[in-house]
Amino acid sequence: MKSLEELARIREQTKAKIALREQEGGTRVMVGMATCGIAAGARPVLSAFVEEVNDSGIGDKVSVEQTGCIGICQYEPVVEVFDGEEKTTYVKMTADKAKRVVAEHLVKGNVVTEYTIGATKV
């Protein structure tokens, strides 16, 4: 026997879990997971994005996906964030940087300029 409060809680928790089946039009985070990306450490970056997005409760608006090589292997791990028409390219990412991008960019809407391709030298 579950109380109505318990049912409501299960409903909300499961909604968050299956949110990734329903996104349409929201923000998309594309993590470069080609051979070059994986070799440069894209796996922990991907996991960090997935965890942080979920923990921040924005799983219904943001989807984390993988993509292939976009041709700038020297900048890997590369993460592109698509916000409607806007595209931000983050380069040389780490799990810690990913946490900041989620907190600053995805939650508050402020691009973390210092991690973007324009601000980075190889």
């Binding site: 409903r11 990734l20 991907l46 996906e65 292939g68």
Partner: protein, 602 residues
């Protein structure tokens, strides 16, 4: 942390084409690649596009892979799940749009559809009540128990215009209102899951893909009419559906959504499953109730109607699975939302099991009033092998055919009845120029003859006599009076049979006579079957000019009916062969073995 969901169809169609093996292979491969904590496999209900099964959909991205085999799994895991690259070769090529379509929702098969009853099928794990809850499951029940009186609920059903999806189209709200009106110490709510039409699998797919929706809706009905007990009468031939219903019942009990004091409102309601042994007549309401009572499944005369004296002589309602599947959403979204879909008298949507000579065999849900042309050409992808559309059969053995001249008919209760067919429970069998309409009528009539329970004479003997006449016609021994006799018998049976089975049994014969009388006449007068189906009227012939005398046909003939002639065509080295039509059993083995196209059916 889960970052991706792999949905693998666990409906009957995809299970038959090997989806269970895919799940195991996928699980193994994920473990081998160390991805088992990131990627979740979800077994779902039917996606509808059974033709392309086994179906797999990967989120995020909603990428749809068709006809996946175990051998494809390592590539999907390595490329898609690890590196994020779509495996292009498994993407479906949409024939209507003539392009590759990665999302199931963008296929021409899905675009016309409006999924209400099938809302959760393919999207949730049917064996996990939490996922049903997350799709607003049991919220309608909560709303009903907390904020509505039984009369409110019935009024909503009446306002929505929902009509029975089992085929007859009786207004659901009215049925409930009648049952509520009778005062009795015990009332019952029954679910008709005894889906028996050849080729129909709508109810099966709903039970397999979203079992909780039926439990929730039945509980709502129990509250509305004042019943505390429900029965689901489901065919034993649906083992996956039965299994998932049992799991759903256990989970609903565990969560306190069935049983005593539901949601702490003091309302008690429970549901039991009763397995049917597969008799078609048990889909008829009084026969179904008789069977639940433990007796032989035979109908009884109405009135009294079940709303007054049904199961165990108590006021009872019986609704079909698809009808139930609409109800929670009507409660949540309001009757106006539902009534805005469909036509003036036929509200909402209808699920059809699309089968026969059609490219996209599968399950479709369309707004009432969609034309048959849209269903066949857009949703169904047209007729395969460049053949021409000849007719479609709705309503299975109780329905009639819709000829090509009526392809623009709107699919709703009224328009289908107007041209002599019925909505039926949703079987939709498409036929092309290779189908003989007399043979089709014979097929459906043979089914009803087999399934007639034998209680009333018009059905037991009348349908048998009709079948004998059809046999005569397809053997080339018919006379023109036989058509009149068929019609006379048909009207007599329709008027006098006890239950729906007999009253509708002659429909396939009547509608094929109405629209394809010339085919009956060809069988009778010309002793020929224009579609080349009725074997008694066919003969296989070898063209001596094309035959090179290889004797391949002779060696494959099981009846020893082929022999060498003394004629040798110009340019050939050996004499041609000929078929002795007296000995020929018309098996077609010669034709399928001839590499030179020298044998034809005439």
């Amino acid at each position: 942390m889960i970052r991706s969901h792999v949905m693998i169809c666990g409906g009957s169609g995809c299970t038959a084409s090997g989806s269970k093996g895919l799940q195991e292979a996928m699980q193994k491969e994920l473990v081998a690649k160390g991805l088992e904590d990131e990627i979740k496999i979800v077994q779902t209900g039917c996606f509808g596009l059974c033709e392309l099964g086994p179906i797999m959909v990967i989120y995020p991205g909603d990428v749809f892979y068709s006809r996946v085999t175990v051998d494809d799994i390592p590539e999907i895991v390595e490329e898609h799940l690890l590196k994020g690259r779509i495996v292009e070769r498994l993407i479906h090529e949409d024939e209507v749009k003539q392009e590759q379509v990665t999302s199931l929702n963008d296929t021409s098969f899905y675009q016309v559809q409006k999924r209400v009853a099938l809302k959760n099928c393919g999207l949730i794990d049917p064996e996990n009540i939490d996922e049903y809850l997350a799709m607003d499951g049991y919220l309608a029940l909560q709303k009903v128990l907390q904020d509505m009186t039984p009369d409110d609920v019935i009024q909503v059903m009446l306002d929505s215009g929902l009509r029975g999806r089992g085929g007859a189209g009786f207004p659901t709200g009215l049925k409930w209102k009648f049952a509520k009106g009778y005062d009795a110490p015990q009332k019952f709510v029954c679910c008709n899951a005894d889906e028996g039409d050849p080729g129909a699998f709508m109810d099966r797919s709903i039970l397999e893909g979203d079992p909780h929706v039926v439990l929730e809706a039945m509980t709502i009905a129990g509250y509305a009419i004042g019943a505390n007990q429900g029965y689901i009468y489901v065919r034993a031939e649906y083992p996956i559906a039965v299994q998932r219903l049992k799991i759903a019942l256990d989970q609903a009990h565990e969560y306190g959504l069935l049983g005593k004091n539901i949601m702490e409102t003091g309302f008690d309601f429970d549901i039991d499953i009763r397995l049917g042994a597969g008799a078609f007549v048990c889909g008829e309401e009084t026969a179904l109730m008789t069977s639940i009572e433990g007796n032989r499944g035979e109908p009884r005369p109405r009135p009294p109607f079940p709303a007054e004296k049904g199961l165990f002589n108590s006021p009872s309602i019986l609704n079909n699975v698809e009808t139930w599947a609409n109800i929670p959403q009507i409660i949540l979204n309001g009757p106006e939302w539902f009534a805005a879909m469909g036509t003036e008298k036929s509200k909402g949507t209808k699920v059809f099991a699309l089968g026969g000579k059609i490219k996209h065999t599968g399950l479709v849900e369309i707004p009432m009033g969609t034309t048959l042309r849209t269903v066949i050409e857009e949703v169904g992808g047209g007729i395969p092998n460049g053949k021409r559309f000849k007719a479609a059969q709705t309503g299975g053995p109780s329905g009639g055919c819709i000829p090509a001249s009526h392809i623009d008919v709107q699919m709703d209760y009224e328009h289908l009845a107007e041209i002599g067919s019925i909505m039926g429970s949703g079987g939709l069998i498409v036929m092309d120029e290779d189908n003989c309409m007399v043979d089709i009528a014979k097929f459906f009539l043979k089914f009803t003859v087999d399934e007639s329970c034998g209680k009333c004479t018009p059905c037991r003997i009348g349908t048998k006599r009709m079948l004998e006449i059809l046999d005569k016609i397809t053997e080339g021994k018919g006379t023109m009076e036989d058509i009149d006799k068929l019609e006379e018998l048909a009207y007599y049976i329709k008027e006098n049979a006890l239950c729906g089975l007999g009253q509708t049994a002659p429909n396939p014969v009547l509608s094929t006579i109405k629209f394809f009388r010339e085919e009956y006449i060809a069988h009778i007068q010309d002793k020929s079957c224009p579609a080349g189906v009725c074997t008694a009227l066919l003969s296989y012939v070898i063209d001596p000019e094309k035959c090179i005398g290889c004797t391949m046909c002779q060696r494959n003939c099981p009846a020893d009916a082929i022999s060498v002639t003394d004629y040798t065509a110009e340019g050939h080295k050996r004499p041609s062969l000929a078929i002795d039509t007296e000995k020929c059993i018309k098996c077609g083995a010669c034709m399928s073995n001839c590499k030179f196209g020298a044998i034809s059916k005439q």
